[in-house]
Structures are given as structure tokens and as C-alpha cells.
């Protein structure tokens, strides 16, 4: 941490008093959320947004007196931070332990090629200072975890979850519940994005006597098993899709601060309903295969706080102390055992052993199946490899099982010289699908009762790149 948090402006999240008429002479940096005259720079800089109905001078001062924490300086965090900084939020904290890589640049608009290798937080803050020098920027160049989350989040009025893994998402939400902070959460993978505002207006843990806003756990009770989870690294991500979600996150955050919805209600005799917007999950689906439309945004109405919620519900046992001492265990909660395959050693070969056997001419006639997606395959493959994407292989296998048919149909027909004892080698991206493919082929009798060897290449094309051909374009 490069900046003393104690030096941040003490401007707490108190709504600015309504001020009709002229300002007094009290210019400059006024005290706790009070009304003051805007500086000339502020006036010039923010005029276009201030004249929008609903913002005005008071809304602008609320932004200036607010503190936002952006967790994650990637595809969501960059566009989110850009608009939040542009809008003049007074203090902007950014948490991320990663450094800028060239593969980030197609979507992470706060980073540039000349800052590759720099901490993402520092790179993004450099970008934000170029936009607006007025806010105070606070870098946290490490990952957020159960040990430090509460301490960091407690310094802010609103949190934006721009992270990329479920364990962190549950942790952030739990801390926001306990510290009464609104949370603007978004996620995006491949061609889809999601956005939801949680815990807003914030309500103390355990209150269930009325309609209150949900937390992340109210909406998403359990994480998906890791085997079904897609990451941007593996599934890919379209820049504008994640960008759209990050921009929408900034929009929601600005709205909350301008309307002072981030302030925890103390007076529960006033029904909260008037402030409780319908909790809504925004879903954006981007269709790359269709040239034009249909544009697909859908807003799904979500239920409010759940009585039996583990985090915010009536009998919740979740505490800050517990989280810090490891209860609940977020990593464990999000990593239920996933099926793993381990084939016997004689059905496996390392990438380098396969390469050597080939160069020594030990396997002159064989079939090499590459089960990666066709997009991955299109960048390059081992000489002679035939592409049968894993999903298609499974679909074909299921069809043969269901409707009958020759198992040999699973293999490409057009390869010359393939006989019933021609060995088959299977390679995939990282070495998991290929093992399942070997199992499937054997199960359907492609091994011809043992006459044909079916062998998995251990570690997939990743191992090929690491151990055989470092120039291979692996993605």
C-alpha cells in the first residue's frame, strides 16, 4: 500500500444538505459533506453531467465527497474506473495483485503497451490521473483475501466487484453485508455479461422484518462446480462485452452515490421500500454468429433479502472475526471435487516422448486426433493432426450409443492408410479432455478389443509448447 489511508478526506457518506439559492463565501474544501461552492475547475469539468436532471450541484458534491473501492483492475475494472474517475468521485481505491500483460490490452482499456509488466493498479491509476487529477487514488497492489478485505472495504462508501473468481465474489459480498456497504457486481465470460446491484440500500445483517435488498448469496446460493466454470483465459472474452458491463457498473455506482442510496438507514420506522429499487439481474448476450441482432439485453427481476440467507439472513452466524480466522472457508466452498481422469500409464505418453518416437520413425502410421475447439486449432497444430472438437466427439459418441452405428465413424474417414490396428493418439489443450476422449473411444470399441492402441498425450498442447516447441502458438 503506497498511501496512508488516514490521509484520505474525512468526508463521510453523509448526504449533502439541499441548498437553494446562492452559496455563501465558503469556498474550497468544505467539511463533512456540507454544501460548498464548486471550484472553477470542478464547475468546468463536471458541468455537462451536473446539468442532467437528477444530478445538479448537490449530486456532484455527493460524488466528490464519496469513496469508491474497485476490486479488480481488468476488463470490468478499467472501464468502470474510467467513468467513476471522470465523474469526479472523490476517492477511488483500486485493488489488484496482477501485472499488465499484452493479452489484457484488447479489453482492459486502462492499460497500454508501454506499461506491460507494471502493476495493474499503478498502470490504471496512471491512466486515471491523465483523465482527472482531482480525485484521490489509492492503490492496493495485492489480492484481496479474508485477511485484509474488511480493513480495506471499511474505508469506502461503495464497492464494485470487478473480480474474476467465485471465492472472491462470495468474500466481498459477505464483508459488504457485515459492513453495510452497497455492492455493484458484474461478471463476463466469452460472449455473455451479467450485472446486479446488491445490498442497496445497505441493511444490517439479520434484519428480515421488511423488504430489503438481497446480497450475493441471496441471489447465488451456491457456486458452480469448478469443472463447469469458464474463465476468460480458457473460454475467451469479447472486449466490448466485458467493457459494456464495466461501464454499466460505473453507471449504477454513480446513480447510487448521487441519490445517496449508499447510506445505511438508521430509522427503520420509515419504510425502506421507497428506496428499494427492484433488484434486477441484467443479462447481456452477444451473438457473434448472427451478423446483426437481435440485440439481447434482458433484465430479470430478482427476489429481495432471503430470511434464511447464510450471510444476511435472520440466523446468520457470519462475523468479521470468523472470516478473518478462516470461517467460512471460501476456497473450499468454491472448489467442490471435480471428476478427474487418470488413465493407466500404458495409455499415456508425454509430449516429448511422442515427439521423439515420431522423429525416430517408431510410429510411422498412426492417427493423431486434436480435440481442441476449432478456433484454438486454427492457430496451429502438430503435423498431420485431425481436428475433432471434444464436444462434437462426445455428441457423435452419444448418437452411436443411442442409434447404433459403427464406432469407427468416430474417427475421421478421409485419412489414408488407416486400418483397424492403426494406433490413435489424442491431444487436447491441457490434457484433460483427451483422457476422457480415450475412455470414450475405448468404451465404444474403437480399440478393436485391444488390437489398436489408443493413447493420451499427457498435458496436451500446453506440454507440447513447454517441452517440444516453444514457438507453438498456444492459446
Amino acid at each position: 500500500m503506497q498511501q496512508d489511508i488516514a490521509q484520505q478526506p474525512e468526508a463521510k457518506s453523509v448526504p449533502v444538505l439541499v441548498n437553494n439559492g446562492q452559496d455563501g463565501p465558503n469556498n474550497g474544501t468544505s467539511g463533512v459533506g456540507g454544501s460548498r461552492r464548486l471550484t472553477e475547475e470542478e464547475f468546468d469539468r463536471y458541468s455537462r453531467q451536473m446539468i442532467v436532471p437528477g444530478v445538479g450541484k448537490d449530486g456532484q458534491l455527493r460524488l466528490i465527497n464519496s469513496r469508491i473501492l474497485i476490486i479488480g483492475a481488468g476488463g470490468l475494472g478499467c472501464p468502470a474506473a474510467q467513468y467513476v474517475a471522470g465523474a469526479g468521485v472523490g476517492t477511488i481505491g483500486i485493488v489488484d495483485g496482477d501485472v499488465v500483460e499484452v493479452s489484457n490490452l484488447h479489453r482492459q482499456v486502462g492499460h497500454v503497451a508501454s506499461r506491460i509488466g507494471m502493476k495493474k493498479v499503478d498502470s490504471l491509476i496512471t491512466h486515471l490521473r491523465g483523465l482527472n487529477t482531482l480525485p484521490t487514488y489509492v492503490p492496493y497492489g495485492f489480492h484481496i483475501g479474508p485477511q485484509n478485505a474488511a480493513e480495506i472495504i471499511s474505508q469506502y462508501d461503495l464497492v464494485m466487484d470487478c473480480t474474476d473468481n467465485p471465492a472472491t465474489r462470495y468474500l466481498i459480498s459477505d464483508i459488504c453485508v457485515l459492513l453495510c456497504k452497497p455492492l455493484v457486481s458484474a461478471a463476463s465470460v466469452q460472449k455473455s455479461g451479467q450485472l446486479i446491484v446488491l445490498n442497496c440500500p445497505p441493511t444490517p445483517q439479520g434484519r428480515v422484518d421488511g423488504k430489503y435488498a438481497p446480497c450475493y448469496r441471496c441471489c447465488f446460493k451456491k457456486p458452480p462446480p469448478p469443472s463447469s466454470m469458464l474463465s476468460c483465459g480458457e473460454a475467451g472474452i469479447v472486449g466490448p462485452v466485458v467493457g459494456m458491463m464495466g461501464v454499466a457498473q460505473a453507471g449504477e455506482a454513480i446513480k447510487i452515490l448521487v441519490s445517496a442510496l449508499h447510506i445505511p438507514s438508521r430509522d427503520f420506522s420509515i419504510p425502506l421500500e421507497r428506496n428499494l429499487a427492484q433488484p434486477t439481474l441484467l443479462i447481456y448476450t452477444y451473438e457473434l454468429e448472427n451478423a446483426v441482432g437481435p440485440y439481447s439485453f434482458r433484465a430479470l427481476k430478482m427476489a429481495g433479502r432471503k430470511k434464511n440467507c447464510f450471510a444476511c439472513g435472520e440466523n446468520s452466524t457470519l462475523t468479521l472475526e470468523g472470516i478473518q480466522s478462516g470461517t467460512p472457508n471460501y476456497e473450499q466452498f468454491c472448489s467442490l471435487p471435480s471428476p478427474t481422469f487418470t488413465l493407466p500409464p500404458d495409455e499415456r505418453i508425454t509430449a516429448s516422448a511422442y515427439h521423439e518416437a515420431r522423429s525416430r520413425g517408431e510410429i510411422p502410421n498412426h492417427l493423431l486426433l486434436d480435440t481442441r475447439e476449432k478456433e484454438h486449432f486454427s492457430f496451429g497444430s502438430i503435423d498431420g493432426a485431425v481436428n475433432i472438437p471434444f464436444g462434437r466427439l462426445l455428441a457423435k459418441a452419444a448418437a452411436i450409443k443411442r442409434e447404433g452405428g459403427a464406432a469407427s465413424e468416430l474417427l475421421p474417414g478421409e485419412v489414408l492408410g488407416v486400418t483397424e490396428d492403426t494406433p490413435v493418439f489424442v491431444v487436447c489443450r491441457r490434457g484433460l479432455d483427451s483422457q476422457e476422449a480415450v475412455e470414450k473411444l475405448k468404451e465404444l470399441g474403437v480399440n478393436n478389443g485391444g488390437k489398436r492402441r489408443i493413447v493420451d498425450i499427457v498435458g496436451g498442447m500446453k506440454a507440447w509448447k513447454d517441452d517440444v516447441d516453444p514457438t507453438f502458438p498456444w492459446v
Partner: protein, 116 residues
């Protein structure tokens, strides 16, 4: 929205109910894009009214383009991390898998995303 309209044709005399089903968050690649208009049997094999639990099995058996059913169901139940909404309401409020499907219902399956 509906770009993959399936015309429900059933040869048997089994009474059916018409519903719409949507998939989001990657599930659309398992079932095909757009809104699915389906005619499902009004009752399961034992004669009980069709529930969401029945619909899930029915979808796996008849509608899935991809054999990786574990991306949709695990141990006979919808897998964790998939949000189910029945007529725009959280299915927990409707009785989850036991909810008896009515004609005209809209069921939405959303796989939650975590990337960023």
C-alpha cells in the same frame, strides 16, 4: 427474440402444455439460442403433473445439443450455479423442483458467470 421456434408436434394423444424456456450465461450453447417454445407432456410417466424437476430431465433427454449433461444437471438435480426463474420469480419462492408447471409459464435458466 425467438429465432429458434420449434413447432411442437406430438404423435401420441398425451395432453401437453405449452411453455417457453430461455437459457443464458453459456447454457444457450447447450440448448441453442433464442427462446424455446415447447409442448411438454402435462404429466410424467407416473401420471403426476409435470414439475420443474420433470422439465429438467425432459430438456436433457430431448433438447440438449451437447452430451455434457453435467453442465446442466448433477446427480439428477439442476447443477449448483444455475439460477432458475419461473415467470420472472426466483424458483425458491415457487417450490423449486416441485413446482407444477402451468400452461404459458416462462422458465429461465441462467448460469452465473464469474469472469471479469
Amino acid at each position: 427474440m425467438a429465432d429458434s421456434t420449434e413447432v411442437p408436434i406430438r404423435e401420441s394423444e398425451t395432453p401437453t402444455i405449452s411453455i417457453t424456456v430461455d437459457f443464458y450465461g453459456g447454457l444457450d450453447t447447450l440448448f441453442g439460442k433464442g427462446q424455446h417454445k415447447l409442448a411438454i407432456p402435462a404429466a410424467d410417466k407416473s401420471g403426476s403433473p409435470s414439475t420443474i424437476g420433470f422439465l429438467v430431465t425432459h430438456l436433457c433427454e430431448t433438447k440438449m445439443n451437447d452430451p455434457r449433461t453435467d453442465l446442466f444437471v448433477l446427480d439428477g438435480h439442476i447443477r449448483p450455479g444455475i439460477l432458475v426463474l419461473i415467470n420472472e420469480a426466483d424458483w425458491e419462492l415457487e417450490g423449486e423442483e416441485a413446482y407444477e408447471i402451468q400452461s404459458g409459464d416462462n422458465v429461465v435458466f441462467v448460469s452465473t458467470l464469474h469472469g471479469g
